[in-house]
């Protein structure tokens, strides 16, 4: 099985050769992956080196927590990926829904509908765990459909507003 795995804009060609071997970018490596104590925590021995990681899928990505650092990986079947690329590049735009990363109280919404925003601009201030947290825009765009008001309590993953 051959995959193309993308982490932080870097592509890796990863081939699962058999139970105990993979090939990354043409280099053959011995691997041994086990789930520790039945948890989603994996112990990986790769050519003798020992690593431990928490791996779980989240939406279209795989989240990998390795040595304290969080990595997001997109794993695609090589054939599928080739077909998709042939069919045209993925649209980078589309609507972005800002969701509450945790339950909390909306302190303020310092933007208005129709307003242009820059990447990194604060869209919502949410209070949780006795802290005020700034939720920022992941890209340039226009604010669309604000669904919450200051003073309102929100649930985790509740959509707060959209950016198009």
């Amino acid at each position: 099985m051959k995959y193309i795995t993308t982490i932080e804009d870097k592509e890796y060609r990863v081939e699962i050769v058999d139970e105990k071997h993979i090939r990354i970018n043409d280099q053959l490596l011995e691997v041994d992956l086990v789930a520790v104590g039945g948890q989603p925590v994996y112990s990986l021995l790769i050519s003798g080196k020992s690593y431990e990681a928490y791996i779980y899928p989240e939406e279209k990505e795989w989240q990998v927590l390795l040595r304290g650092q969080q990595y997001k990986a997109v794993v695609e079947d090589e054939r599928e990926k080739r077909l998709k690329t042939a069919g045209g590049a993925r649209a980078e735009s589309g609507e972005f829904h800002l969701k509450a990363p945790m339950p909390g109280l909306v302190v303020s919404v310092p933007v208005e509908e129709g307003q242009s925003v820059k990447k990194g601009q604060v869209l919502v201030i949410l209070e949780s765990m006795k802290m005020q947290n700034e939720l920022k825009s992941p890209r340039d765009g226009t604010v669309h459909r604000i669904r919450v008001r200051a003073g309102e309590s929100v649930e985790q993953r509740q959509t707060l507003l959209s950016v198009t």
Binding site: M1, Y12, I22, I24, V31, P40, Y54, R67, V75, K130
Partner: protein
């Protein structure tokens, strides 16, 4: 002499207090909110009673309910921990009225130190140096403050009289920007404390935050257990504390210690308390405030002195004289504490909630973990994001740093994001290793390691691919194999998960 202690708190500090009570043979009563039924302090206490819904003001801040539970359970003492009701004069007073021992200072001492302006004046009169600022007791109007500001000199700080946690605090660089900042500070203080009064203090730049641990008994004996350096802060929240301070010497410790004892005596203090100072580049020190309670970072002092501060609090509350004199206190080696918070250091330290899926505590020589969580426990958004304190001791400061690195590397917490990577980067930073930092260090001169090690990137790619591949392979096999996993306890466990 009391026999049963109600712990009016939650989390790691409730567990810490339960441990001390148990070691001196006292029974323990826990209180808990609806969000904390499974919390560790409930599991470990002898008794546990529900306070109310998750929000603090409906549970851990309900003095009336807590006193009712004390009565009902026969608790004859209350330990408030830190935060919540620990520095509420009226709570200490209400305990006394009901004949319950409050394990802490007298209500009058809490009150005297609770109003920051009054505290400044009280200790100043006792000969304790304070940061230059508005010198008189009494709340000043904006005009008065604007008039006095140039005498203090810029930059200066606007601080809330009822203060704490950096709320209602503003830095002022020029007279021109001051009116707007005054309004903002008053508004914030009003919202946070129901009191919009503010005062001014000179901004001491390049300063370190150094505090002295005090023990005072009911017989007039007051001693200090040396200092803690708490300059590693972010948004006025302490993140790392260490003892001794890298800048301390015997002479300065003696001088500051004497002043700290004097400050405690000025409010007729009893029990454990902390005098916070700013120390400037020229080693001048200024009283900042007194915390009239147990401090989060008390373990670093315990590690270097060998004294169990919570047990001492209990002894003092029982009316016993201190078992140490100042000359008995010896400092051995170095200790560092990292506060482990459920927050994402890569997303502006956003709090993180969720169930802890897996965890592995660092242990072994010289390592102590104080925590209130465990695998399977749910971190809710209602309380402080601190989930544990990792404390290490080493023969020297260098050994302590190396040990902290080792412990941080071992520590696994899965299910919520934590600030462990922040601490790892800090322990690797040359300025921290050199002991050269001030209270602005984290915000101004420190950046968390963002650069990725290419070798680890490749490992992460391999891991994600292997996991994805397994999932694909298994998806087809899953249905028919489902039946196998029906040994009884797994089944019950699963049922529990479903119905929570």
């Amino acid at each position: 002499m009391f026999k049963k202690v109600l712990i009016a708190n939650r989390g790691e500090i409730a567990v810490r207090v339960i441990r001390a009570c148990r070691e001196v043979g006292l029974e323990t009563v826990a209180v808990f909110s609806e969000a904390d039924r499974q919390a560790l302090h409930v599991r470990l206490a002898d008794e546990a009673y529900l306070l109310g819904p998750a929000p603090s003001r409906e549970s851990y801040l309900r003095m009336d309910k807590i006193l009712e539970i004390a009565r009902k359970s026969g608790a004859d003492a209350i330990h408030p921990g830190y935060g919540f009701l620990a520095e509420r004069e009226e709570f200490a007073a209400a305990c006394a009225e009901q004949g319950i021992t409050f394990i802490g200072p007298k209500p009058s001492s809490i009150a005297a130190m609770g109003d920051k302006m009054t505290a400044r004046e009280t200790v100043r009169k006792a000969g304790v140096p304070v940061v230059p600022g508005t010198e008189d007791v009494g709340n000043l109007s904006d005009e008065e403050l604007l008039a006095v500001a140039p005498k203090i000199g810029f930059p200066l700080l606007i601080k809330a009289t009822a203060g704490g946690g950096g709320k209602g605090m503003r830095e002022v660089r020029t007279l021109e920007e001051m009116p707007g900042l005054l309004r903002a500070a008053r508004r914030e203080a009003e919202a946070a404390f129901g009191d919009g009064n503010v005062y001014l203090e000179k901004l001491v730049t390049g300063a370190r935050h150094i505090e002295f641990q005090i023990l005072a008994d009911a017989h007039g004996n007051v001693i200090h257990l040396g200092e803690r350096d708490c300059s590693i802060q972010r948004r006025h929240q302490k993140l790392v504390e260490e003892a001794p301070s890298p800048i301390m010497d015997e002479e300065l410790r003696r001088k500051m210690g004497e002043v700290a004892v004097k400050a405690a005596q000025a409010v007729d203090y009893i029990n454990a308390g902390t005098i916070e100072f700013l120390v400037d580049k020229d080693r001048n020190f200024y009283f900042l405030e007194m915390n009239t309670r147990l401090q989060v970072e008390h373990p670093v002092t315990e590690m270097v002195t060998g004294i169990d501060i919570v047990k001492e609090q209990i002894r003092i509350a029982r009316g016993r004289p201190l078992q140490y004199k100042q000359e008995d206190i010896r400092f051995n080696g170095a200790a560092i504490e990292c506060r482990i918070n459920a927050e994402d250091p890569y997303s502006n330290f956003m709090p993180s909630t969720g169930r802890i899926a897996h965890s592995l505590l660092p242990t072994g020589p010289g390592v102590r973990v104080d925590t209130g969580v465990y695998p399977g426990f749910e971190i809710t958004p209602y309380y402080d994001p601190m989930i544990s304190k990792l404390i290490v001791w080493g023969e020297t400061r260098a050994q302590a740093i190396l040990r902290m690195r080792r412990a941080l590397e071992e520590y696994r917490i899965v299910g919520v994001r934590t600030n462990i990577p922040f601490h790892q980067t800090l322990m690797d930073s040359h300025r921290f290793m050199g002991g050269q930092y001030d209270t602005r260090f984290v915000e101004e001169r420190f950046a968390i390691q963002e650069e990725r090690d290419p070798a680890l990137l490749e490992i992460a790619a391999a891991l994600a691919t292997l996991a994805a591949h397994r999932q694909t392979e298994r998806a087809a096999q899953f249905v028919q194999r489902n039946e196998r996993d029906t040994s009884n306890w797994k089944w019950v466990g699963r049922w529990e998960r479903m119905h929570r």
